[in-house]
């Protein structure tokens, strides 16, 4: 009892920066009068979860997936179908969407993870393309290119979300849950195994890590988180169509990850926020704003290849920021044949 009373302020102090960021994120939005800005914040939240889930594969295990939007799509469609056809409450639809996306992740991972490097990457690309075509053409189930309309808003134990501000708080909670659960995962045995696989797969195998099993688990987890983001998207926008889940979407996620930096839990969020805010900030330039977007990405890759916060294992605790040695991991190595 006594020790916990002494430790508590210490905990607050150690985590003050993170806690104050969360406090600002929670306190400021009600004062934003233009609801459009709140909507932008909600999208940053969705993409933060997606980029974090991609980071599990790219940043922690070193598997390059370039079709991650497929799992986002599965989550969105699963959640819409579960709540509209089966009438499941939102909480169950959310969990179901994650589980179904995770299951598809398993189906893809199980036969293909014996492949490595560029071959696995091609499989993820193909899966994304096939899924898009299925969504586009399976009229009776997905309503094809017309999409699914009037997805019901989330209701949490009877409370139905209506304003954008309420959606904002929901996605804020989901992002926090994602970060906390990933942080927990990455600091335990599981996380160490994933890091070992990324650093040197053969050596990981040689120290007794069952690399195939861990890669499959990481793939399933990444798909699960992407499914959660998809579910939220479906209930927020209330309309889903195959066009929201093209290869392009997968590439945007990769760009966010590359921009923010991978291998830690803060970089992906920063990357998602930056690449959503940049086109918004340059909206006065109209269609020329994408020049800025592309230019920023190119400059980033030239001057800081590992991304804004890449190459370091930032922790949630400020006290540990930067205390770990620099870990610059260059993904190109992965494609070279084993020497």
């Amino acid at each position: 009892m006594r020790s916990s009373r002494i430790r508590f302020p210490k905990f607050l102090l150690a985590n003050a920066p993170v806690l104050s960021i969360i406090a600002v994120l929670a306190a400021v939005p009600p004062f934003i009068t233009n609801m459009y800005y709140v909507q932008v914040l909600v999208f940053i939240g969705i993409y933060a979860i997606l980029t974090l889930s991609l980071n599990l594969l790219n940043g922690y295990v070193g598997l390059l997936s370039i079709g991650h939007a497929a799992f986002y799509a599965i989550g969105a469609y699963a959640s819409a179908k579960l709540s509209m056809e089966l009438g499941l409450p939102w909480v169950l639809a959310l969990a179901g969407a994650g589980a179904i996306a995770g299951f598809f992740g398993y189906l893809i991972a199980k036969p293909t993870l014996r492949l490595s490097g560029i071959y696995l990457t091609l499989v993820t690309l193909g899966f994304n393309m096939i899924l898009f075509l299925v969504l586009q053409n399976w009229m009776s189930f997905t309503n094809g290119p017309l999409g699914i309309m009037d997805v019901p808003p989330p209701s949490i134990f009877g409370f139905v979300l209506s304003s954008r501000l309420q959606y904002y708080y929901l996605i804020l909670a989901l992002v926090l849950l994602t970060v906390l659960s990933m942080h927990r995962l990455m600091t335990c045995r599981f996380g160490r195994a994933l890091t070992a696989i990324r650093e040197n797969e053969l050596a990981a195998e040689a120290t007794g890590v069952d690399t195939t099993r861990y890669k499959i688990q990481a793939f399933v987890l990444a798909a699960f988180y992407a499914g959660i983001a998809g579910s939220f998207y479906a209930h927020f926008v209330k309309y889903i169509s195959p066009d929201s889940f093209t290869i392009n979407e997968s590439f945007i996620l990769l760009a966010m990850l590359a921009f923010g930096g991978q291998g830690n839990l803060i970089g992906p969020i920063v990357g998602a926020a930056a690449l959503i805010l940049i086109p918004e900030a340059f909206r006065p330039l109209q269609e020329y704003r994408m020049f800025v977007y592309g230019g920023v990405l190119i400059v980033m890759m030239l001057v800081r290849r590992q991304g804004l916060l890449g190459g370091r294992s930032y922790s949630l605790r400020w006290t540990r920021f930067d205390s770990a040695p620099a870990r610059i991991y260059e993904r190109g190595d992965k494609f070279l044949p084993e020497g």
């Binding site: 070992a196 650093e199 053969l202 040689a206 120290t207 007794g208």
Partner: protein, 236 residues
């Protein structure tokens, strides 16, 4: 303890090992010698389950292991020190050691073993907060050995421990192999090109040539074998 019987391993259509049979007894140092591309590394990979033999069997303490996944083979008590060391480059030396104990659950035992490794390898202790990739080749070899020992193996397989090291470190590495064998009672299978060095510490040796074992004898006899002297030991 470790027994290979008529092992045949193929890479696609190419046969890399032909009827390789060898044994390692407890607390023994056995060296596996041969020139380039004779199948030394393939033998090691076959034992570790990184490649699968087409025919033949690999047994460890009487249990067949040639169909087990590598992680289970490591759990059974075989720890490899891989060729070119293969550390986790961007983990610290300390973290590398902890990864070596990945298959173990006894936190207390792991902690005392880390201390034991620091005592055994003072260089490793000196560098324990550094990234593994910033160490010299010889230092990395020390870390690789310490990491392998962290799994508390019964058999240590070392692939070319002397490769790319300065003569000073080669001596040191072989000294430590002997010490590990003597003090920890760990059997060692030493896969080496440096026949002179390997035979100076081994009890027995096997000589591989194009995937076949052509000679098998005690280290003493191998050193005096005229064929051996001509082909591998550089005695005129």
């Amino acid at each position: 303890m470790l027994k290979l019987t008529d092992v045949n391993t193929f890479y696609g259509p190419i046969q890399a090992l032909k009827n390789v049979s060898l044994t390692v007894n407890p607390k023994e140092i056995v060296s596996l010698l041969g020139g380039n591309a004779c199948g030394k590394s393939t033998t090691m990979k076959t034992i570790l389950g990184l490649v699968r033999p087409k025919h033949g069997r690999v047994e460890f303490f009487g249990r067949r292991i040639d169909r087990l996944p590598s992680s289970d083979i490591v759990r059974a008590g075989i720890a490899p020190v891989l060729e070119a060391r293969r550390l986790f480059p961007f983990l610290t030396v300390h973290e590398n050691l902890l990864m070596g104990a990945y298959t173990r659950n006894d936190t207390e035992g792991i902690r005392t073993d880390v201390e034991r490794m620091y005592a055994l390898f003072p260089v490793v202790k000196e560098r324990n907060r550094q990234l593994a990739s910033t160490l010299s080749g010889g230092e990395q070899q020390m870390v690789a050995m310490a990491r392998a020992l962290m799994a508390r193996p019964k058999l240590l397989i070392m692939d070319e421990p002397s490769m790319g090291l300065s003569p000073l470190y080669v001596d040191k590495v072989f000294e430590i192999i002997q010490m590990i064998n003597r003090e920890e009672g760990v059997a060692v299978l030493l896969v080496e090109q440096n026949a002179n060095m390997a035979l100076s510490i081994a009890c027995r040796g096997y000589v591989l040539q194009t995937g076949e074992i052509v000679l098998h004898d005690t280290a003493e006899n191998l050193k005096n074998n005229p064929l051996m002297q001509k082909a591998y030991l550089g005695v005129a």
